[in-house]
Amino acid sequence: MILRELSRQTLRSCLANGGVRLRTGPIVTCIRSRCDEVLNGLALLYADYPVEDEGSFADFHAAIAPPRSVRRWLRPQISFEFDGASPFFPLPADQAFAALEWGLNWCVSFHCHQYLIVHAACLERTGCALLLPGEPGSGKSTLCAGLVSRGWRLLSDELALLDFATGEAVPLPRPISLKNAAIDVIRAFAHDAVLSTPVHDTSKGSVAHMRAPLESVHRAGELARPRWIVLPKYRSDATTSLNPLSRGRAFMELADHAFNYDLHGRRGFDLLADIVSGCHCHTFEYSALDEAVTVFDTLSATA
């Protein structure tokens, strides 16, 4: 069953009671919440995702709920809850859906150490994966949103899961998080993109989430071997330029951007070395998204 097959009433009641068991790639999260923002966000951005029945195995149990303190009477707040504990400070109630997204990222990056997890966007074309590691503000998500609007398949916007056995990237297609100016850039660039209503004054500024393309959701079971590692950098007046990067530097960048490189020791080193040795590595500067897409089209022909 997929989420859009649930009526709004059923979805609301599932969220309020036993929870909705949402499948994103290999992960099933049981989500509970009585917040309208969560209901609306899920209905809009996760409509085509599989929903598992109650007999299935949920990897994580997450909830968005008002914090248990007197402050809830002063200013409405919400808290991300994980098995009854609240790993983060409460946030203003209008950030409920964003908090869920951040919480779901936290679930994976804190627990799924069966993978090497790199803070990177990950996309696929012609059967090969592109890794875009980058700091927040590097323009990684904007570039990722631009590319998936022009035919690249989304594997993940934030968390590239690398499989130790095969060296492949495991898809975890979830909504793409767009911040501040990027929201309007993508609205102008991709007219049919579906975006959530922006919430303002979050710790990251204004935030909106873009729905993952349907094909990415349908093909979430198809792994892909990384072929390109590109370090993106958005600069407002940059001319589009793709420059070679040594494999050594690319290795260090992936290690620096990994959440759990330190945890895997030699195995982590071997996996990254194996991946990097099979990749073309570049740095990339851009300011115009259409030019950027052209560069990556050309790049994908070099597989």
């Binding site: 195995f57 150490h113 069966q114």
Partner: protein
């Protein structure tokens, strides 16, 4: 607690062989309970020891794999950290006794298996505190607590220095001069603990407590500590230590006597009682009889049973319900009660509450 009224996690800790027979729904519950109690890596190692991998469904197997990787990395990191501490204190000529998790790990005890902990704890003579603190500061550790109130809290009333954090590695070290606060009702003599401590084979300076003292320390931790969320993990320590030392010559014969000598008969009584009730730890009848010396008045015991066993009911291990948080709250208060005289306790709790309020307003 009868069988059907026991949480799945307790079943699995008592009899790890059931890990080969659980269905997916049971695994979902078990993983939540284990994660909440910091015991998932422990289950992973238990399953490995019994070669159950092929009988565990794929999804939970992935979680065990992740937990195992985390625990192995943790052990490597703690061993490295202990090396740094050892080196920083190498010129002092002071005995350095590792406590709790680090001691289990460096002493190669079964209690270390899959045990995650955040800080390293050491015990040094009170007379050496100043030189130990300055040696650590010269080597990059700095005090985590900077307010005058916190400094006073630790230095006057507690049994340890304010926690120290290494400025580049971000690791936290607790330097103790006793195993219970200066203000506590029970005050085991640290000189006796240090005198009985043993060298770790292959180590020049590092030591661990004698087996009986290690068990007694674990028992005091269980019942005088305000870190109530880790109660089950602490009880698992107690169980693993008792099982691990059971074969050591003189261990059972001296345990209860040592408890009386150190003024820790009460914690030992509780430690043995709950390890037996909850985890079915085997304890010789003669030791149980000797430990009766520490039996509290029956009303206290009933209250303690209610609070402690309540936390371990099914459904309470995986999430915070009203009754369980009440039980946790009363154990938290009790732990503080044992650590401080009433007026000081009131002062301390009010200071902490006001500070929390200020933090929330900010």
């Amino acid at each position: 607690m009868s069988g059907e009224n026991r949480a799945l996690l307790l079943e699995a800790l008592r009899d790890p062989a059931i890990l080969g027979e659980l269905d997916l729904k049971q695994w979902e519950t078990l993983i939540r309970e284990a994660r909440r109690n910091n015991l998932l890596p422990r289950l992973a190692f238990d399953a490995d020891a019994l070669h159950l991998e092929s009988r565990i469904p794929e999804q939970p197997r992935e979680h065990l794999k992740a937990a195992r990787a985390q625990a192995i990395a943790h052990a490597v990191a703690v061993k490295r950290e202990v090396r740094f501490i050892d080196r920083a204190l190498s010129t002092l000529g002071v005995p350095v006794v590792l406590l709790k998790g680090a001691a289990y790990l460096m002493g190669d005890l079964a209690a270390a298996r899959g045990r995650l902990f955040s800080d390293v704890d050491i015990l040094v003579p009170r007379s050496a505190l100043a030189e130990v603190e300055s040696a650590l500061m010269l080597n990059g550790w700095t005090s985590l607590k900077t307010t005058p109130y916190d400094q006073r809290y630790y230095r006057e009333w507690m049994h340890e220095l304010p926690p120290l954090r290494h400025h580049t590695r971000q690791t936290v070290l607790d330097v103790h001069h006793a195993i219970l606060p200066t203000t506590a009702r029970l005050r085991p003599d640290s000189a006796k603990l240090l005198a009985a401590s043993r060298p770790i084979p292959g180590e020049a300076r590092l030591r661990v407590l004698a087996p009986v003292d290690m068990v007694l320390h674990s028992a005091t931790h269980l019942f005088c500590n305000e870190d109530v969320g880790n109660s089950l993990r602490d009880l698992v320590d107690q169980d693993s230590l008792l099982r691990g030392f059971a074969g050591e010559e003189g261990f059972w014969a001296t345990l209860a006597g040592r408890a009386t000598e150190l003024g820790l008969a009460r914690p030992l009584f509780y430690g043995l009682r709950y390890a037996r009730v909850v985890l079915a730890t085997p304890v010789p009848a003669s030791v149980l009889r000797a430990a009766e010396r520490g039996r509290p008045p029956s009303l206290s015991l009933r209250l303690m049973d209610a609070a402690f066993l309540r936390m371990l009911r099914p459904g309470q291990l995986g999430q915070g319900s009203g009754a369980a948080s009440l039980a946790r709250g009363s154990l938290y208060l009790r732990a503080h009660w044992l650590r401080m005289p009433p007026l000081l306790l009131a002062y301390h709790l009010i200071t902490k509450a006001l500070r929390q309020e200020q933090a929330a307003v900010r």
